[in-house]
Amino acid sequence: MTTTRRTTLLGLATAIAGNRASLALADAAGDRRFVVVILRGALDGMAAVVPHGDPQLQALRGPVPEGLLDLGGFYGLHPALSGLHGLYQAGHMLAIHAVAGPYRIRSHFEAQDCLESGAEHRMTSGWLNRAVAAMGLSRENGALAVGVSVPLLLRGASPVANWVPHGAATPPQDVYAAVAALHQGDPVTGPAIAAGLRERAFSAQALMGQPEDKNRFGFPSLARAAGTMLAARDGPRIAALELGGWDTHASQVGRLKGPLRQLDEGLLGMKEGLGEAWTQTAILVMTEFGRTARINGTGGTDHGTAGAAFVLGGGIAGGRVLADWPGLSDNRLYEHRDLAPTTDLRSIAKALLLQHLGLPPPAMEPVFPGSASAAPTRGLVRG
């Protein structure tokens, strides 16, 4: 067994598991990092990446908002995403438009399940978990869910750690060890408690000396901390985060600013946390569906179909908007109401798994079952 700093940190867990072999670390499976950010509640893609070059836009949405950040003439980025715009100018951010998953449902919960399953129906595991399985990462260098719970995206056969900042007063180590032993035979709580203790030991070490944010549970602070942990040589390689607040059925203009700012600040914070590892990182920002093309009667938008996604990272072929723009005239809208999907989100995700993480092409079928029609998008990664 190779001994690394990580194994030393995990001494506690070793004692609990009582099975050293289960903690043997594989040599790091490469230095590439991959992060998925789920925007729960359906981001209005047409408000985030405004297609102001489309002549129909004003009839659907009213006057073009002021202060848009230019994305090459036809599109403008919401002003609250100024940090992302900086990354776009540096060629590290790619916006994708008129994109949707393979499902055509307008229920948040079903759609999120499908988005995370990576299929047209709900599965019991998530596509990112299956990708981790295909990479053969160990639990220690594997995937990290940032938040109190593990999203479906990361649930499945591959073990996953999760992390959020915790309070100060904790029980003595031997109490933890005794509780973990009591739960050893429980198929659900047993592995969860063992993993939680391991992750605490690791994150305490990785974040040592980091200034503590005043809102430790906010997205910006979690994203920055995730970046720091991903940067660690023996840290996780895959992470998932989520941010809500997008279900803007009413008064959308005001309600979108806060979540967009948080997203922007969080992604920039993650880049800082990653440091030099930014060049090895790809971040996919996705949502379950877009919103109606027309503004509704209450200044908001209802559940729709296609929307926007973002891919960021030091090695991403960014500085452009990737879209086969379907147009906004009534006969071009999906069911006369939604932006029509012209890009399959799975094509983007597959391209990142293949081109960025180097997964073998045969791994795509188990990760995204029944997705042969969604060919990986070419040229997402530079070089």
Binding site: G41, R106, S107, G297
Partner: protein, 428 residues
Amino acid sequence: MDIRTAQAFVRFGLGRQGAEPLPSDPKAWLLRQLHALDAPVLQPQATTESGLSALREDRETKPKPGESKARALFTAQAAGLLDHALTTPAPFRERLVWFWANHFTISLRRGECTGVACAFIEEAIRPNVTRRFSDMLLAVMRHPAMMLYLDNIRSVGPASPGGAHGAGLNENLARECLELHTVSPAAGFSQTDVTALARLLTGWSVDLQASVPGFLFRARNHEPGPQTVLGGTFPPGEEGGTAALLALGTHAATYRFLATKLVRHFVADNPAQADIRRIETALRNTNGDLGAAAGALVDLESAWQSGTKLRTPLEFTIAALRALDLPADHRPNIGRVLSALGQPFLNAPAPNGWGDTAADWAAPESMIRRIDWAHALSARIGSNDPMTLADTALGPLLQPATRDAMARAGSRRDAMTLMLSSPEFQRR
């Protein structure tokens, strides 16, 4: 304590409160709770009128954070509801209140709901947990908390007089009513059904300015013309919406959906088809009598198998506090505990409410937080004997391994932490 009594306390109740008397017949004890309505839980009572008045006042005075009237009202009422759970003589009823409040989720994530959130529980949920489902559905859909939460208050029929100025339809409430509250996607409803129900519910609104603020049907905003939902045609007017809700509330797909959720909550994460059918039949034979459905759950033999469900943070917190049975001035702030454990009270992230399976709650960090809180709470054990407490709370459910670990613990506090963190206490 025999195993069925122990199981009645944890499976259908909230955990034994201290050394409360043991029922001689656990099943009869549960069924009795279904036949006696709760006395008013809060004094003064939580009402829509006081909640909306607080919201109105906040809108006028624009208070600084921490000085909101609606927030103060919520804090006091939520504490009252949680305290009630620690001492109620009808814990099965309280579990039903929680179950239905989660089925019809409203959330503080929508700030306007704050002042009426507890009134929603006390007015729309609690009085209906053993009445017909359609009674509860109608009470919920007319309640200002739900209409504020799912945006119906400003939904305007495009062809109504009120729709002339560009105001329009908001289909949020109608969609969640079909998807989450009644027939569920299994019924195969379409976008057309959603739109039609949304039109029927236009004008269902809240009058904030009235001397007694509350529900108001705004005829000016109501979409004219009949609407067809799931094959049934309903006339315009307030009664058209009521008729559509009655049809949805008594639909076969609704009974199936509710039966599945009830069995998942009370029996097992993966409910057995035979069990679902029993509850579904009970609902169908009684026109959706929720008391009859609850009684049928108690009659399921599978419901008496211990440990099949992981307690949610709310269930765990209340059970732990009931086991310790601390005096009122010696209890932690339960609302804060629930936030730290990942289930802030009446604050679910989305309209589908809190998850109801182990996978939703057994994330690594959340399990560790339970242990941390158990340790913090166990500091209050004083000179009580942890083994006596464990025997009193769990009876025959207490496992030898836990007993051994407790016997080896370095302090009373550590022993208590082990009991509260043990698999048999984390499960129900």
